[in-house]
């Protein structure tokens, strides 16, 4: 049964009058991992950044089309993100970036709670402790940092920092987690740990991951969307697309003939 949490209808985005993605229609399945892949410059990241309305922060950026997120309100099945406060959108759709970017002036503890602290949401000490422990556990970082929670995150390794950033995003209890090439700045072992983590996390959250690494898309995703020159070329089960793509461009991309 198809159970969509996020739908895109006729989404187009441009920057400086240059069209980056056009007329994209896509549905993301709840608690599944969807990988968006394609050669560099195909609009993967832009598509991702449209989803939590980060794209519009770029100067001269334009977005058209509809993005619908499963509503928390029972009467209304889907809410349209373009007419929702972007701040609210971003709390329900978390994001993790290419480079690990923990806040340098906050401790590890504060970093996990950053979403609350920076928004000025008051938490009781016990509540805060629970959130921190739960989410550091979720990203398998608790045992490694529990004695250093009051230290700044900068002494952590790249992979640990990235997991901290994932914990930070998860602490806001988002429905969807966007990952923008989360391992492109990491070494192979950290990459593998993050991939394991991503697969593990789909139980709690719907994941959309952008990757230019075909192997990674294959390893972690349930569904694959292939973008080429701003168009959605193919979408389907990872198993199908990786063994038997319908489109010639997808085939070429997977076999390394375009990149």
């Amino acid at each position: 049964m198809i159970n969509s949490i996020l739908k895109i209808e006729n989404l187009s985005a441009s920057y400086d009058d240059k069209v980056i993605i056009q007329n994209i229609n896509l549905e993301f399945q709840k608690n599944k991992i969807t990988a968006i892949m394609g050669p560099s410059g195909c609009g993967k990241t832009t598509l991702l950044r449209c989803l939590n309305r980060m794209h519009e922060l770029t100067p001269n950026a334009k977005v058209s089309g509809k993005i619908l997120l499963e509503s928390t309100n029972l009467n209304d099945n889907f809410m349209e993100l373009n007419s929702t406060d972007p701040i609210l959108v971003r709390r329900r759709i978390g994001m993790v970036f290419q480079r690990p970017n923990p806040f340098p002036n906050l401790t590890i503890y504060q970093n996990v709670l950053a979403g609350y602290l920076l928004n000025g949401i008051k938490l009781k000490k016990q509540e805060a402790d629970e959130i921190v422990e739960k989410h550091l556990n979720l990203v398998a970082l608790w045992d490694e940092v529990k004695d250093n929670l009051k230290k700044h995150g900068t002494f952590l390794s790249g992979g640990q920092q990235q997991r901290l950033c994932i914990a930070r995003a998860l602490a806001m209890e988002p429905d969807v987690l966007l990952l923008d090439e989360p391992t492109s700045a990491l070494d192979p072992i950290s990459t593998q740990r993050i991939e394991d983590l991503i697969v593990e996390l789909q139980k709690t959250v719907t994941i959309i991951i952008v990757t230019h690494n075909v192997g990674q898309a294959g390893r972690v995703s349930d569904f694959v969307a292939f973008l080429y020159l701003g168009d959605l070329i193919e979408y389907g089960l990872t198993d199908t697309i990786f063994t038997n793509p319908k489109n010639l461009q997808t085939e070429k991309f997977l076999t390394g003939k375009i990149s």
Partner: protein, 221 residues
């Protein structure tokens, strides 16, 4: 490798073992059919089991292709998956041979049995024990057992040449028995092939574990 890969790999292993069990059952059914003169069992093999194995074979093939396409396994993982791919093919052939044997036996059932025919169950027993052990060696990665299976190929070969010799004498004595003898000959040839395939499986197990291809089979003169 990710969880997904490990998960899939274990499903793959489960499937191949399920396949092995069915194949083993098919041969056991043949033996039982021979002993109890039970044609229903043979019919089951022909109508049901072979198809069951075939659909499993397709499923396993697909899984393997997906595994390789998505996870690009290496070293031990790669050897294991490639061998499962081969074993899968071997099982498919064993199932086909078993079905052929069942068909041949079905034709012979109505008629009074020939003397050499009594050796066929024994040959089957030897074969099934090879198959069983090769599967066990696969699931337990027991190389010793695998080598043992390879050795035992000779036993089955001996059964076959023994039966062939007897059939030859029978045919020389009574030309009316030629057709029947040929049926039995076909059956024993198929059984021997099954034993060969079991040896193949054992060799594949040796490759999975030790990473070296071996060929124990002496070329037939």
């Amino acid at each position: 490798m990710t969880h997904i890969f490990q998960e899939r790999q274990s499903i793959l292993n489960d499937n191949i073992i399920e396949e092995a069990t069915i194949v083993e059952q098919m041969i056991k059914k043949i033996i039982n059919a021979l002993i109890n003169k039970d044609t229903n069992l043979l019919q089951e093999i022909i109508d049901g089991d072979e198809a069951k194995v075939n659909s499993l074979v397709i499923e396993i093939n697909e899984m393997i292709i997906q595994l390789i396409a998505r996870f690009q396994p290496e070293a031990g993982d790669l050897r294991s998956i490639m061998m499962i791919y081969k074993i899968n093919g071997d099982f498919e052939r064993i199932a086909k041979k078993s079905s052929k044997i069942a068909k041949s036996i079905l034709l012979l059932m109505d008629e009074p049995p020939l003397k050499p025919f009594q050796d066929v169950p024994k040959m089957l027993e030897a074969t099934i024990s090879m198959l069983k052990d090769s599967i066990t060696s696969f699931t337990t990665h027991n190389v010793q057992l695998a080598y043992d299976v390879c050795e035992r190929d000779d036993i089955v070969d001996k059964y076959r040449s023994h039966i062939s010799r007897e059939l030859l004498i029978l045919m020389i004595e009574d030309s009316a028995l030629i057709q029947k003898s040929q049926s039995i000959e076909r059956i024993t040839r198929n059984i021997e092939r099954i034993a060969d395939l079991a040896t193949n499986i054992a060799e594949d197990v040796i490759y999975i574990v030790e990473g070296e291809f071996i060929k124990t089979k002496k070329s037939k003169s």
